[in-house]
Symmetry: C2
């Protein structure tokens, strides 16, 4: 159930929805052909923002959490998608080794893990959990708040394979984003499938590259539908390491902010959108070291809390991660008065459901410093797959979910492009 | 909702269910490996009979009807399975031509067609209906009882392709079982995928071959689980054309009946089943020309209604279809007092749901002359995919549905073997 979901859809998004619904066969065919050329990540979640006038993915998590938020009636879909994925990767697989996120694990995360085990177990694999944490030196039972327990076992690394005591998996499923670095025991596993691969980790991925791929995919897709790609991705600029030091860092960042804001202002004018644009500043690399920062004007930089401002500038010094300045996409969806952000969950090429992150007491265009705020998950009640034909755009939840599924798959495809390009073992065909 | 479903599960079936649940990963792996070697039919329904002491498929329909009986919450599963199927057959497909059963079409059948169109449409194809009927000479709208309408269009046959006016499909989906013969306009379509292929039609298929393949698959599977294959398939004997004429026909049939009954009696004795076995006599070929006949003793043949008896014997004369004598599997499931037969619905290798055929006023071991009786469909309420671990065998509906899904896939695999062997275009590797 998605109660009291109020969407203020206006103008372009209605056109966008209408266009997407009427083009469904062409869209599905386009995805089929893209997936022939590009391998989707095994699993992912895509964070979307529905601005009313545009719908864009703002992040893709390749080590997703939150699977326990999926509505129970969607579970068979996840299992079926997992079956299809295994079939392609390793049909003869018996055992799946799942490696959870390191270190303190919230009760939310444990429920997610339990669900993940369930999905791959129902898909027909023996699933066991191997912990990267140094303090797991013997099998350790951990209680899951909603009932049951999980057994975390110490990993055993042989010269060529990774496993557990008495458990030799064909595939290793990684759920740690490697933001804290890549443990040696995950490297050089040439006999096993490690999914996602190490170069999907936050030690390697760059948000600027993610953003460039999202733009490329949005352009290809928009061309298919004869529409403006800006409606499907956030504009961005990367402010890179090495260009800047000292006072020059602040200047580079200001330039980046100005460049993005002026592009967005032009678009707002074209579409007669009567709102004040903002940007979100993110570290280009890494999952956690820097909070996301939202500003409406390059001048606001000077007024930022000094430690936050310094952290941003430090990211631009030699050795820092660099920064990405991304167009802020306001969220127009509300549950009661709270801001709701859709998260779409994908396994292989299939959308298997999703949920809303409901931020209590956040305005739609709030500066996003508060983005890490607590949220309440709210499962999508209906399937994304079954749009209702002939329904007025914006009027039907399933239609909106179909559109979400399309935009989430664009983000997934962009991630596939990204991983292909960053694969250190890729064969190059010239 | 499956209300008041009472199952009288005893002895072996509880063991069977327990064995199947504990072996789930091995079973799923076995199926994955089988599907690597054998292509499943695009869609099918499998009729099962749950006797309490055994669970066996009694028929597989490769031109299935009844998709509108699927519970609405199962629809996304069907769509996802259809997507996976299309991806393999013809990823570049835009158009699907669906050929319905030749008329007259019941209101049930129209609802089924509407659902089938919906599934493949949501999977991303333009679906249109081409009629084999001679009286459809112009596009004809047919109202569907539950709302909406379907447009039946005349087929256009070119020298190499089949289509409709302004509609050139890459794949032709056949929903007529060809029991009335194979229309010339479906032959020699070497540029398009015709699915299921012509040799899946009832003009070609033989129930004796189906039965032999079911036995072969049951044996392979039973070996994997270390159990008696008889628990998973009905014993049968074919009484073939050409062997018999006149009085000799009756004698051949009696021998067939005796052979099956004595095998079944032995099994009943082994398992201490205190029931009286019966057999079902079916035409070996063809979908409709002969009603199924149930007898408990070869001597009952003499007491059959004379026209029915003559029809059986005629089937054994030169030019007749031959007969199959199949072990009758009593049904132990009841909805209130009515006998309930599970029907499992499959798309590609995936179980996408199912329903019960509820026969009011039929006893479980009733002679099956009444099998064509009216029935009420009752959708499976829960997914077959999600057995509950640790639940007592026989106690949980989802566990039973998982078992049904396994046995239905055995039947599907047997059909895949059958179609491979009967494929006139098969390449032979020696």
């Amino acid at each position: 159930m998605v109660p009291h979901l109020i969407t203020a859809l206006t103008g372009p998004i209605n056109e966008l929805e209408a266009r997407i619904l009427e083009s469904m066969p062409a869209i599905e065919r386009w995805f089929r052909l893209e997936w022939m050329e590009h391998t989707p990540p095994l699993y992912a979640t895509a964070d979307l923002r529905n601005a009313g006038f545009k719908l864009a993915p703002v992040d893709v998590d390749l080590f997703p959490a939150g699977f326990h938020h999926l509505a129970p009636q969607m579970l068979p879909l996840a299992v079926q998608a997992a079956m299809a994925a295994i079939e392609k990767i390793c049909p003869e697989a018996k055992n799946l080794l799942l490696i959870p996120r390191r270190g303190p694990r919230s009760s939310f995360y444990l429920s997610h893990l339990q669900r993940l085990v369930e999905v791959f177990n129902q898909a027909g694999l023996n699933v066991r959990l191997g912990a990267l944490d140094d303090d797991i030196t013997a099998p350790t039972a951990v209680a899951v708040p909603e009932g049951g327990e999980l057994l975390l076992e110490p990993l055993l690394r042989g010269p060529r394979r990774l496993g557990l005591k008495g458990f030799d998996p064909c595939t290793v499923l990684l759920n740690d984003d490697l933001g804290a670095g890549t443990p040696a025991l995950l490297t050089k596993l040439h006999e096993q499938y490690l999914l996602p691969p190490l170069h999907a980790g936050w030690g390697v991925r760059q948000r600027s590259v993610q953003s460039r791929n999202a733009e490329e995919v949005a352009k290809k897709f928009a061309k298919l539908l004869g529409m403006d790609p800006w409606l499907l991705h956030p504009v961005s600029a990367s402010v890179a390491v090495g260009q800047a030091n000292g006072a020059h860092a602040a200047e580079s960042l200001q330039h980046g902010i100005d460049a993005v804001l002026s592009k967005v202002r032009r678009k707002y004018k074209d579409y007669a959108i009567n709102e004040r644009p903002f940007v979100v500043i993110k570290p280009d690399r890494g999952s956690t070291e820097l909070r996301f920062v939202g500003v409406r004007d390059a001048k606001e930089l000077a007024n930022l809390e000094p430690t936050l401002r310094q952290a941003l500038l430090d990211a631009l010094e030699r050795g820092g991660s660099g920064l990405l300045v991304q167009e802020g996409v306001p969220a127009c969806e509300r549950v009661n008065d709270a801001l709701a952000e859709p998260v779409v969950c994908l396994i292989d090429r299939y959308v298997v459901g999703g949920w809303y992150r409901v931020h209590a007491s956040l305005a739609g265009d709030a500066p996003l410093t508060a983005l890490g705020a607590r949220y309440v998950p709210l499962a999508f009640a209906e399937s994304h797959r079954l749009p209702r034909r002939g329904e007025k755009p914006g009027a039907s939840a399933p239609n909106r979910f179909y559109m979400y599924g399309v935009v989430a798959r664009l983000a997934l495809l962009a991630a596939a492009y990204e991983l292909e390009a960053s694969d250190p073992d890729a064969e190059v065909y010239d």
